[in-house]
Amino acid sequence: MTDANELPVKLQRLIETIDIANILTEPLTQSIANLLQVSAAEINSDEASVLIRDGDQGGLRFLSATGEAAGKLLNLKVPAGKGIAGFVLSSGQPMAVSDVGEEKSFYPEVDKSTGYSTQMILATPLNYKDEIIGVLEYINRRGDPPFEPFTPVEMDKAALFAEAIASLVNAYESAKLFRDFGEKVFEGENKDDIADMRNWLNARRDSAEHREMLDLAVLMREIASRGEGERKICRELLESILRFSESKSETSFVNF
């Protein structure tokens, strides 16, 4: 059994790892979604989505999407070489198709999963530092068909939005890499420790004292995410509690 004194340290690191995942990646996915929404309105498109590389064999997965089918698209995968997006990823050439219809190259599985009917697509590559890291797609016009085809001016606008979105996607990937790396380091350290810690956590799940500690950690994370003012007040409050606790040796958190 791991020394009980080490466990709070490990617990703290676990919480930090979760924090990295949420604090670093969440605002980025939110920013990507916001920018997608703005760009879809600008291009007068009904649905917009960001697909990023999935593995190194040319596959893609949906990272972000707007529109009614958005929820169903997230994390959906597109195999290598499939669809207009797959082609844009491998060729680096933006293109628009104004009558997609039912065809092999379109990869209709995406429509089948979402129940959406794709009529036209504008797809442009996401470039970051000379690498194509994904594809930005716009599908259909707002309103009812028949739709006016995407124009060259809209293709140029899409290329500019792709530039901004590619930077955010790159930042997201870096944050995710950092998070995954953190988890790997933590896992790789000692597999028995992880098992011990799980057991320890499970054993204490019903312990009021530890539940309160975890609740407190969650609460602090929530406050920290509210803004600079909240973080400052929280820090001042906690430091004054600490000073009070240090000045009165008989006082502890448990009976405070």
């Binding site: 060729s91 680096g92 933006p94 092999k104 530039e163």
Partner: protein
């Protein structure tokens, strides 16, 4: 009559020092002119292309090398078929060489695309359609060398600009290839030439109706589809004037575009 004057010091003996084009190329069909499409393959069963494909090869990674095997895989994306369809519409008797470098299994790598270009040069295809490019700087120098080889071998390489904020290779090279950007013009013979701009030629590339998979047709927009329009025009010119060098072909395109511009202004 499109007069292209070159330096004439002595009575000329071949087309390489002086040449003049009449309008006969406008009624040509590209007969006997070899056109390589370096792309996602070509669907040989498409009615617009049936019987026009002389050879189909596909890139394959053999350890670290790229080799080309004869292929019956056709086209999985539609893009190569679309490009060939545009060329065939202008030059219906051109002979196609399909060099597949895009597709599943990690293809689409810049390395495969360079190897495809090298393959087409070795085959001495007269016109090479490159509706793709790369922004990776490590390919800048090898591409430059390959394009020089193409030039010396008499192969005319036509590349699509990528129209993105980044420059892409080889479309930004100007000396040894012809680069094309899309315009809303619909007549393939009515292309433009803008000397001094990075991408010199403009050709139809907006809502172009062309061949697609399964014998179908699609309306497509992109520089990828402007490029084969110029390839088709070159195939027509080369049928009538097979001895022209890449430099002369570029001069001819320049003169024809000037003539187009003059007619437009008149």
């Amino acid at each position: 009559m499109t007069a292209v004057t070159g330096y004439k010091s002595t009575p000329y003996t071949s087309l390489s020092t002086y040449f003049q084009l009449d309008d006969s190329w406008k009624s040509a069909s590209g007969r006997g002119v070899s056109v390589a499409i370096i792309d996602s393959g070509i669907d040989a069963s498409h009615p617009d292309l049936h019987g026009r494909i002389i050879e189909s090869v596909e890139a394959r990674f053999d350890k670290k090398r790229i080799v080309f095997d004869m292929s019956e895989a056709g086209d999985s994306a539609g893009h190569g078929t679309a490009c060939a369809g545009i060329v065939a519409k202008i030059a219906p008797e051109a002979e196609f060489y399909s060099v597949k470098v895009l597709g599943a299994g990690g293809l689409g790598d810049g390395q495969a695309f360079l190897a495809g270009l090298e393959y087409a040069i070795k085959k001495r295809c007269r016109v090479i359609n490159l509706s793709l490019g790369t922004t990776k700087p490590q390919f800048f120098s090898p591409l430059h060398d390959l394009l020089d080889r193409a030039y010396q071998a008499g192969c005319i390489v036509v590349a699509a600009a990528n129209n993105l904020p980044h420059p892409s290779f080889p479309s930004v090279f100007s000396s040894s290839l012809i680069s094309v950007v899309k315009s809303e013009e619909t007549d393939p013979l009515n292309f433009g030439f803008h000397f001094g701009e990075v991408i010199e030629l403009t050709a139809p590339g907006v809502n172009v109706r062309t061949a697609w998979l399964d014998g179908g047709y699609r309306n497509l927009t992109g520089n990828s589809f402007a490029c084969p329009h110029i390839v088709g025009v070159i195939a027509l010119i080369l049928e009538k004037y097979p001895g022209l060098t890449p430099f002369q072909v570029k001069s001819a395109l320049y003169s024809i575009a000037k003539e187009n511009q003059r007619k437009l202004e008149a």
